[in-house]
Amino acid sequence: MNDFLMNPWPWYVVGPLITIVMVIFLYLGQVFGISSSLQHICSMAGAGKFSDYFRYDWKKKAPVLFFTVGLIVGGILTVKFLDGDHYVAIAEETKMALIDIGVRDFDHYAPIGIFGEDGFWSHLPLYIIGGLLIGFGTRYANGCTSGHAIMGLSNLQWPSLIAVVGFFIGGLIGTYFLLPWLI
């Protein structure tokens, strides 16, 4: 048991657990989706003054906001107690390609030279451009990986399939054109 908690979990454990969380969400009366939280936090911060898009009773959306607080706590617990920031055994091809575009370290979940303290100031544009694209895109598409790829595809929704095709087109553009330029 202890070994299981400390080692990385394989896909056939993680995938089914994600489905279970989605079904519990539905049982508790909420559609599964995380990116809506970005809209609700803006609404909570008073963005309703600027656009109808944010003008509603955000308190009614409290469940997803509690969920996001839980995600942060889950992150703290994993990194502190469950060996959650170790070397990730990615494919050799990926490693070679990343070395080619300037990635230098592979000891943690993210390259420290880019996402750690040393790389912080020089990679600020990467964080800001990346975050803006994520916030804008998920709200434009009305969902992210959880709402479209997991929830929408599970519910056999055509709009979600279109969105997921979009995710991958964007992902390829990001991988091959934007990332080499931002690293």
Binding site: P8, W9, W11, V13, V14, G15, I18, V21, M22, V23, I24, F25, L26, Y27, L28, G29, Q30, I34, L38, S51, A62, F66, F67, G70, I72, V73, G74, G75, T78, V79, L82, V88, A91, E93, T94, Y109, A110, I114, Y127, G130, G131, L132, L133, I134, G135, F136, G137, R139, Y140, A141, S146, I150, S154, N155, I162, V165, G166, I169, G170, T175
Partner: protein, 138 residues
């Protein structure tokens, strides 16, 4: 509060699941968009296959949620442009930062100040969409 508390617990559990599954790793996302390994496809694929089966069973048995309402979510509004344009824009951000919204929160919990900036920028992006939505093709 009692209605919301289960979501806090569910968030903690989901955070641990995605973190232990390395789904929040920037490296795993690079590997996924380069089609070099099965891991991420296994995670998302098995979640979706089981999700389809679960929802079909729920539909057949007409199961209700905790409040007596249908468990099946309403269909998503039919449109094309908003899903493809929004999807492409999000996909670019996902590839660069290696994180979609759920993992961003988890990585903030990890203590990466870089992902705090990503989260703030994502909030700014959502705000920008809210302002510009009426001028965009949907």
């Amino acid at each position: 509060m009692m209605k919301n508390f289960p979501f806090l617990i569910l968030g903690i559990v989901f955070g641990v699941i995605l973190a232990k599954g390395e789904v929040i790793s920037w490296f795993r996302i690079q590997e996924m968009f380069r089609f070099d390994d099965f891991h991420m496809y296994g995670v998302i694929g098995s979640a979706v296959v089981l999700g389809v089966i679960s929802l079909q069973i729920i539909k057949k048995l007409d199961l209700k949620d905790a409040y007596g309402q249908s468990l099946i979510p309403a269909p998503k509004p039919i449109a094309f442009k908003q899903y493809i344009f929004g999807g492409v824009i999000f996909g670019m951000g996902w590839a660069i930062t290696g994180a979609c919204p759920g993992p961003i929160y988890i990585l903030v919990g990890y203590g990466y100040s870089s992902y705090v900036i990503v989260l703030l920028a994502a909030l700014a992006g959502a705000f920008l969409y809210g302002i510009l939505a009426k001028y965009l093709p949907h």
